[in-house]
């Protein structure tokens, strides 16, 4: 029951026998049943520097981007295309993730740090065995600076074990740049919304003053601004309080 399906591979001390098999072995029992995607190249490692190992190093990378929102996925893919000829796929469905990953057999998986599906990937990362190509987490790598940059940008990467850091770095850099762009866009959107909200409240406060005191719009705004300065508060805050108070007073 719940037997270990495979050995843990991203245990820290499991790094001894690096497996440079060019494909990601299947990782779900469903896929395993078909038997078509068994990799089994662990025993056939080419010595470093041979033609075969060079080919493996330079081959196109298979990259999966997990992103349900197409408007976010597109710029990430564009960013990755700019840095090289890689096979890039987007997974947007939330269900059946393990199956899709097994089908695509990616070298690198990129996903939003906060995506709940990460917890499913975590299981896949642990579940691969000695004859399979393990998926290690990027944070396992030695480049602490890059790891931190990725986490700060809100991105996490799962990388097949044995992939050289110099192949991973440009891809991570490109993804980090795009994620920073998202963060800026989100901040800008929030700021715009807040400004719009404030505008509305100030307009309502002006209307309240104009009606109550029989003054014009300019005078109403001047009064709001003077009160704000006297109180050491922002105009929007004073406007908010005024609108609230007016609302209370008008209720019988």
């Amino acid at each position: 029951m719940f037997a270990p399906r495979r050995n843990p591979c991203f245990a820290r001390d499991a790094g001894g026998g690096r497996n440079i098999c060019p494909v990601l072995a299947q990782m779900t029992d469903g896929a395993r049943g078909k038997g078509a995607m068994r990799c089994g190249c662990a025993a056939k490692l080419a010595p470093a520097g041979t033609k075969e190992s060079r080919n493996q190093m330079d081959k196109r990378l298979s990259i999966v981007v997990i992103e349900p929102d197409p408007e976010r996925a597109a710029p990430i893919v564009d960013g990755l295309r700019e840095i090289g000829d890689h096979d890039i796929r987007i997974i947007s469905e939330e269900t059946g993730l393990a199956r899709h990953i097994a089908e695509f057999r990616p070298d690198i998986v990129l996903i939003d740090l906060a995506n709940p599906s990460r917890d499913v990937l975590e299981e896949l990362a642990l579940a691969s065995g000695p004859t399979e190509r393990p998926v290690a987490m990027f944070v396992d790598r030695s480049d602490e600076h890059l790891t931190r940059a990725a986490v700060e940008a809100g991105i996490s990467a799962y990388v097949v074990d044995g992939l050289r850091p110099d192949r991973i770095k440009p891809i991570l850099d490109a993804a980090i740049a795009r994620f920073h762009m998202f963060q800026r866009m989100r901040a800008e959107l929030a700021a715009t919304r807040a400004a719009l909200e404030e505008r509305k409240v100030i307009d309502r406060a002006k209307a309240v003053l104009m009606k109550a005191r029989g003054i014009d719009e300019e005078a109403a705004y001047a009064l709001l601004r003077k009160t704000a300065m006297d109180q050491g508060k922002r105009v929007a805050e004073i406007a908010q309080q005024l609108v609230l108070a007016a609302g209370l007073l008008s209720c019988r």
């Binding site: 843990p8 001390d13 029992d29 393990a98 917890d119 642990l126 944070v139």
Partner: protein, 390 residues
């Protein structure tokens, strides 16, 4: 005096209550802290943000720091669990189809008897049961493993990770026949008409430790004052939460848009222990469904670190003794004693004990005077004796 800002990460569940209540009701401010609470989407996110120093503390599944201590995670700075945040709060659910078959075979959904429910499930279940849990290092997985193991299923159930908000969908799609998840996600699946609740986690194990407060070891060493203040604030919030009359208020606070963003009625079910087990509205009352304080619920017994470590080690083919030793060092009973003694926490004489030995709440000798320990028995009488004292 200005408040010291502290960033805490939580995953939206009812057992994030101690953090949210500490921030909302002033327990944090009382200790000179200003909590900045970050709602997170994945358990892996909590771990990674803590590791990268983007948050100072995290609401985390108790087995996560155990697995991390055993090397079953990414290479991050050492993470320590300084106190439990909650015990219980999980529910086991089965699909509507499976529930109907179980009812046809005479099961009454008493939401109480784990052996009876397990046997009914075995008779009604498909050849190979598919079970959803929120994370592969979780109390939910351990509960399901233990319960189904004891109930003697012929074929080992297939356990898959399903993010809690997707549990109902996964069940509706036929990907899982049963799941175990923290509230309010089990109740949410009942409301969607796809699931029936079969058991509370406490029916399998009377006091299953569920979430812990986890910090980086280097942060604890560099900021002992702040660590103590954080622990006291959250401990007092837990004490407030375990006053029965406060649970409705807690449900109101938690369900706000910035926290769980759900109807208060849904959060209330788990918090008050009045659960609706079927879409048709049958209610079951479970006293002590989730605990935040009473009966030393927050004391991070090293024997529980050992219990989880042994089970995880067996599953992943690691050496259990080494795993237990490593895990026990990450449950910081020393800090619990140091920082909560003056606040008035009852402190047990030892830091490890026989787990599963109490069939009812019991008064025992404490560091000072007497204290009450919560019942912690497994439904089948299993006990676990840690091979080391600390």
């Amino acid at each position: 005096m200005p408040l010291t800002p502290v960033r805490l990460g939580y995953v939206p569940l009812i057992d994030a209550a101690p953090l949210i209540v500490a921030a909302e009701l002033g327990f944090a401010a009382e200790e000179g802290l200003e909590f900045s609470l970050l709602r997170l989407g994945a358990w892996a996110q909590a771990r990674d943000m803590l590791g990268a120093g983007l948050i100072e503390a995290a609401h985390m599944l108790v087995p996560m720091p155990v697995a991390q201590a055993m090397g079953l995670g990414p290479a991050l700075p050492d993470l320590d669990l300084v106190m439990f945040l909650s015990q219980g709060g999980q529910a086991v659910a089965v699909s509507a189809a499976l529930a109907a078959r179980m009812r046809d075979l005479g099961h009454d959904f008493d939401f109480r008897d784990a052996r009876k429910a397990g046997e009914a499930l075995r008779r009604a279940a498909p050849e190979r049961l598919h079970v959803g849990v929120p994370f592969h290092f979780s109390t939910q997985l351990e509960l399901m493993q233990h319960w189904l193991g004891v109930c003697g299923f012929d074929a080992a159930p297939e356990v898959v990770t399903v993010p809690p908000p997707l549990m109902a969908e996964s069940m509706a799609a036929g990907e899982v026949d049963a799941f175990c998840v923290g509230e309010p996600w089990a109740s949410s699946a009942v409301d969607r008409g796809v699931a029936a609740l079969l058991l509370p986690g406490t029916a399998v194990w009377a006091s299953p430790p569920e979430k812990g407060l986890v910090l980086r070891r280097d942060f604890i060493a560099a900021e002992p004052e702040m660590t103590g203040a954080l622990m006291r604030a959250i401990w007092r919030a837990g004490r407030w939460l375990d006053e029965r009359e406060n649970r409705d208020t807690a449900a109101e606070i938690l369900s706000r848009r910035e926290y769980l963003d759900l109807p208060a009625e849904l959060a209330e079910r788990g918090l008050t222990g009045r659960l609706q087990v079927t879409p048709s509205g049958e209610i079951r009352h479970v006293p002590g469904f989730v605990a935040f304080h009473a009966g030393a619920a927050t004391f991070p017994w090293k024997s529980l670190a050992a219990l989880f470590a042994q089970r995880i080690a067996r599953r992943y083919g690691l050496q259990p003794d080494a795993a237990m030793r490593r895990a026990m060092a990450h449950f910081r009973t020393d800090l619990y004693r140091q920082h909560l003694r003056a606040a008035g926490a009852a402190l047990p004489g030892a830091s490890a004990r026989l787990e599963g030995a109490l069939t009812e709440d019991r008064e025992v000798g404490a560091e000072k005077g007497q204290m009450i320990l919560r019942a912690d028995a497994f439904f089948d009488g299993t006990v676990f004796e840690p091979p080391f004292a600390d």
